[in-house]
């Protein structure tokens, strides 16, 4: 009898829970074939905007004679030069007139593209984009202009401690071509010739290797037609055979000093390789990065800023370079006379976290940040196509995106702390780098001191 009185409330609660559960479902991801035979994934939404994400598989940097900076210059060139009979200025202003957003960027294994426009304009925007991909003028003067701008950037980067530190990390532990791709050095950038860009263009954007994910209105007709227009003639592109085998990533555990006489401050960097089980549980490393350095209340910030009074700000980052290399990166810019103390304190703080883990309130706070983030982007009205694309590139099925939010919600303090103790490397097994204006003035037991870039090779 007592329970019967509660029945209406239980029924209401059950009904509301049911509503919430239904509302929490993500939009369906449909596997569709376009009229011209392209297989795509389509996410129907209540929207009038079509967003097409494409990943064109690209192994250019592993082909004979490749300069790994070519994709960076090539992509900028085709976005600024004309295409077909369209003049450069007209191409850009036509995209502007359509209110379309078109972007391209390169990663070592693929070129990623994004095209966004209203459903009424997406086919016209796709036609323009198709001309960029199939018929760029690759004009000599525009090439010189684009290359000149990137050479200027690479020239300035030679004085940048962050660029020097991260480049050294890549050079020591990445495949050489992948390291050169990400670092885009002054020498490589200056050496790029237009013929190399033309060669790269010929073998890039092959439709056969493309993965396409798009979102748009529930009536899929315009979006699918836009895909056919976008990929028109791209099956004629000819990717060249890979001739260079990618070397496996070998994490380096060393302490290195690098001299940057152009800087006034020192930069302290620590890198841990995310490997094995940690690759399958990457959210744990995201939590670690947040707790260690994301806010002014984070552990490294409190230690280096508030306690040691050495840094203006610190950073931590989950660095996702390619399918093979993922790193937890930490660091901060400090006064040179405090660099050694900052490295020591950062290492101790990291070790303390690894051994002791988080407390419940800290864990709950970090978890809330990620749950809120995923609830914000993954709900019944939203499912970003690039998340699906990344899941596919990682080798998952599209349904993998459905597991993201439950995975974060299911994380708990005990397993996280166990994970940290078991899978974060001790600080003496990290790659630790100090970039400073005068490394002779730094008294520290190190594996090598680099005064000239070529000396870095001796550190391996």
């Amino acid at each position: 009898m007592k329970y019967l009185r509660q029945l209406p409330f239980i029924l209401i609660f059950t009904f509301l829970s049911g509503c919430i559960a239904v509302n929490a479902d993500l939009p369906e991801i449909k596997s569709v074939t376009t009229d011209k035979g392209h297989d795509v994934y389509y996410i129907p939404l209540e929207t009038e905007t079509v967003t097409i994400h494409a990943a064109f598989k690209n192994d250019y940097i592993f082909t004979e004679g490749a300069n790994p900076v070519v994709p960076h210059i090539g992509l900028q060139l085709i976005q600024q030069a004309g295409a077909g009979d369209i003049e450069p200025a007209t191409l850009l202003s036509e995209f502007e007139d359509l209110g379309a957003d078109a972007q391209l960027h390169a990663r070592p294994d693929a070129i990623h593209g994004k095209l966004v426009a209203d459903v009424a304009d997406i086919e016209a925007a796709a036609k323009l984009a198709n001309q960029v991909l199939t018929d760029s003028t690759l004009d000599e003067r525009w090439f010189r202009r684009v290359a000149g701008n990137l050479v200027e950037k690479a020239g300035l980067d030679r004085n940048h401690s962050g660029v020097l530190g991260w480049s050294a990390m890549r050079k020591l532990s990445f495949d050489p071509m992948v390291a050169r791709f990400w670092s885009a050095s002054f020498a490589d950038t200056q050496a790029v010739e237009l013929d190399q860009v033309k060669d790269w263009y010929q073998q890039s954007f092959n439709a056969g290797d493309a993965i396409i994910v798009l979102s748009g209105p529930k009536d899929m007709a315009s979006g699918l037609r836009a895909v056919d227009i976008l990929l028109d003639q791209l099956d004629q592109k000819q990717p060249r055979a890979v001739t260079v085998e990618q070397e496996p990533f070998v994490p380096v555990a060393k302490t290195i000093l690098i001299e940057n006489s152009a800087a006034n401050d020192a930069l302290v960097l620590l890198f841990d390789h995310v490997k094995g089980e940690a690759r399958r549980r990457e959210f744990e490393t995201y939590f670690t990065a947040y707790e260690l350095g994301a806010t002014s209340e984070s552990r490294l910030h409190r230690k280096l800023r508030d306690e040691l009074r050495a840094a203006y700000e610190v950073f931590t980052q989950f660095a996702d370079f390619d399918r093979q290399v993922r790193l937890l990166a930490m660091g901060g810019q400090v006064s040179p006379d405090q660099a050694v103390a900052a490295l020591r304190l950062a290492s101790e703080t990291y070790d303390n976290y690894r051994e002791q883990g988080m407390d419940q309130s800290g864990f709950d706070q970090v978890k809330k940040v990620y749950v809120d983030h995923f609830e914000d982007i993954l709900n019944e009205d939203s499912l970003p196509p690039n998340l699906v694309l990344e899941a596919l590139l990682e080798g998952h099925e599209v349904e993998f995106v459905n597991s993201l939010l439950p995975t974060v919600r299911g994380m708990n303090l005990m397993t996280h702390n166990e994970f940290s103790a078991a899978h974060l490397s001790p600080s003496d097994q990290l790659l630790r780098i100090i970039v400073a204006p005068d490394i002779d003035a730094i008294e520290l037991d190190v594996d090598c001191r680099v005064k000239q870039p070529e000396q870095l090779a001796e550190c391996v």
């Binding site: 202003s93 200027e152 300035l156 940048h160 401690s161 209340e297 006064s335």
Partner: protein
């Protein structure tokens, strides 16, 4: 007789209560209508202004305490307002070497004309706690001297950090300072390494005593705000405890048509560039709402890839520039700063490029804003402005910009009204002002091979 009199008093009392109730209902109704727009309660006596922007979609409430004093109000070595901002924030948060006891994301920023103390209440500490801490900004700074000296070194770290990220920034500051020709708005917020090392703790404390006072500051709250709570808490936390005399008045910017030109060689840079900065007096006939709309649209026109911009003649139709950055923004309520930073294309000399940029600016003014461009802009932004009063995220940008410049913020409806009322003649008038002779500074930056 007494009974009648009592009844009369009672009736008056009831009517008075009814009147209060009606007032309350009226306030609630007005509040409800204003809920999606900027709300300016009239009750703050201590603060210069209180502004509330209701954003029901935001789970986190953001609080901005804007002190209407920035680097332009300081004297001595440049960077003092920034150093003071650091000291005031640490002192207010009672956070010296210890751990903060509450989880509020706090930060502060120094600008030329204001210093902003910001808190995002991510952990729902509540407005009482957050406003209490923000109000501490006005309390005397209680940090020890050693801590303050260390903080000056951290300000130096911040400068170095900025230098590494933006290698041209000290040139930009120098050109701006030259353009303003000794006027206070030309002072550099970040300063230089040398000026930071010369900053005096006593000067900072003196500036705090002089400028950090509730009646020289505005509170702006953005989020899912409870109006009556904020009202009560403003009364609780912000009061004038000490008579400091009249509010500080900044000198009005003096404008002319001076031309400054210089040259700098640097090993830090890789190739030659030209930096042009120009002060543009805004035509006087426009309201602040109109000015903000005109600035937005003319910035879009100048930077666009279309016919109304500078890119077409300099970058697309001809090979003058390889890289071009253009900025147009207010430095005071009545003055715009146009900033152009350009690398010449091949075979173009810096001097030629500077001349060509000025010529093209002049051409834009002569040609005027085309009807087509004007109507495109109008059509493209019509919905944006019409919906501004219901889009707190967009309106926030305008409110914040106004407060930084010490201008009374305008609500969304008035900005929409201003946008609707402007014609292409207004756009022409401002474009002509941009191209007309006025103070200009040009620096030729030459790379040392």
């Amino acid at each position: 007789m007494l009974k009648v009199q009592l009844n009369c008093y009672y009736l008056c009392y009831i009517m008075f209560r009814l009147f209060l109730l009606m007032l309350l209902v009226a306030q609630l109704v007005v509040g409800a209508f204003a809920a999606e727009d900027l709300y300016k309660p009239a009750y703050s006596r201590a603060l210069h202004g209180v502004y509330l922007l209701h954003n029901p979609d935001d789970e986190i409430t953001h609080y901005y305490l804007v002190v209407h004093a920035g680097e332009a109000d300081m004297s001595g070595p440049h960077g003092l307002s920034h150093f003071l901002e650091h000291l005031a924030m640490f002192s207010a948060a009672h956070k010296d070497r210890g751990e903060s006891t509450i989880k509020v994301d706090e930060n502060a920023f120094a600008y030329k004309t204001a210093t902003v103390f910001f808190a995002a209440d991510k952990e729902n500490e509540g407005p009482d706690v957050v406003l209490g801490r923000l109000a501490n900004v006005f309390e005397p700074i209680h940090l020890d001297r050693q801590f303050m000296r260390e903080e000056r070194r951290i300000v130096e770290r911040e400068f170095q950090h900025h230098q590494q990220r933006y290698p041209y920034s000290h040139h930009s500051d120098a050109v701006f300072s030259r353009l303003l020709d000794g006027q206070s708005v030309g002072r550099s917020v970040l300063g230089t390494q040398e000026s930071i090392r010369q900053l005096s703790i006593d000067d900072a404390l003196h500036a705090h005593q002089k400028f950090y006072r509730p009646d020289n500051a505005s509170l702006y709250v953005w989020g899912d705000v409870n109006y009556s709570t904020i009202n009560k808490l403003v009364k609780k936390h912000f009061s004038i405890k000490e008579e400091k005399g009249d509010r500080h008045q900044r000198e009005r910017l003096a404008l002319g048509d001076k031309r400054h030109q210089d040259e700098a060689r640097s090993e830090d840079i890789f190739r030659d560039r030209v930096m042009i900065k120009k002060l543009v007096p805004f035509p006087a006939q426009y309201s602040w709402a109109q000015k903000m709309v005109l600035r937005d649209h003319l910035h879009d026109l100048l930077t666009s890839n279309g016919r109304s911009g500078l890119r077409q003649p300099l970058q697309f139709d001809a090979f003058w520039v390889a890289d071009l950055e253009i900025e147009l923004d207010f430095i005071t309520q009545n003055v715009l700063a146009l900033e152009i930073f350009a690398a010449p294309d091949f075979d173009v000399e810096l001097e030629q490029l500077a001349t060509e940029i000025e010529t093209q600016l002049s051409n834009l003014a002569t040609a005027g804003v085309s009807r087509a461009s004007f109507y495109d802009l109008k059509n493209d932004t019509e919905f944006f402005y019409a919906d501004l009063q219901n889009t707190p995220g967009d309106l926030h940008e305008y409110v914040f910009k106004s407060l930084l410049l010490g201008v009374e913020p305008v609500n969304g409806r008035d900005i929409n009204k201003a946008a609707k009322g402007l014609t292409h003649l207004d756009y022409d008038a401002v474009m002509q002002a941009i191209a007309a002779p006025s103070d200009i500074a040009i620096r030729f930056l030459r790379a040392t091979p």
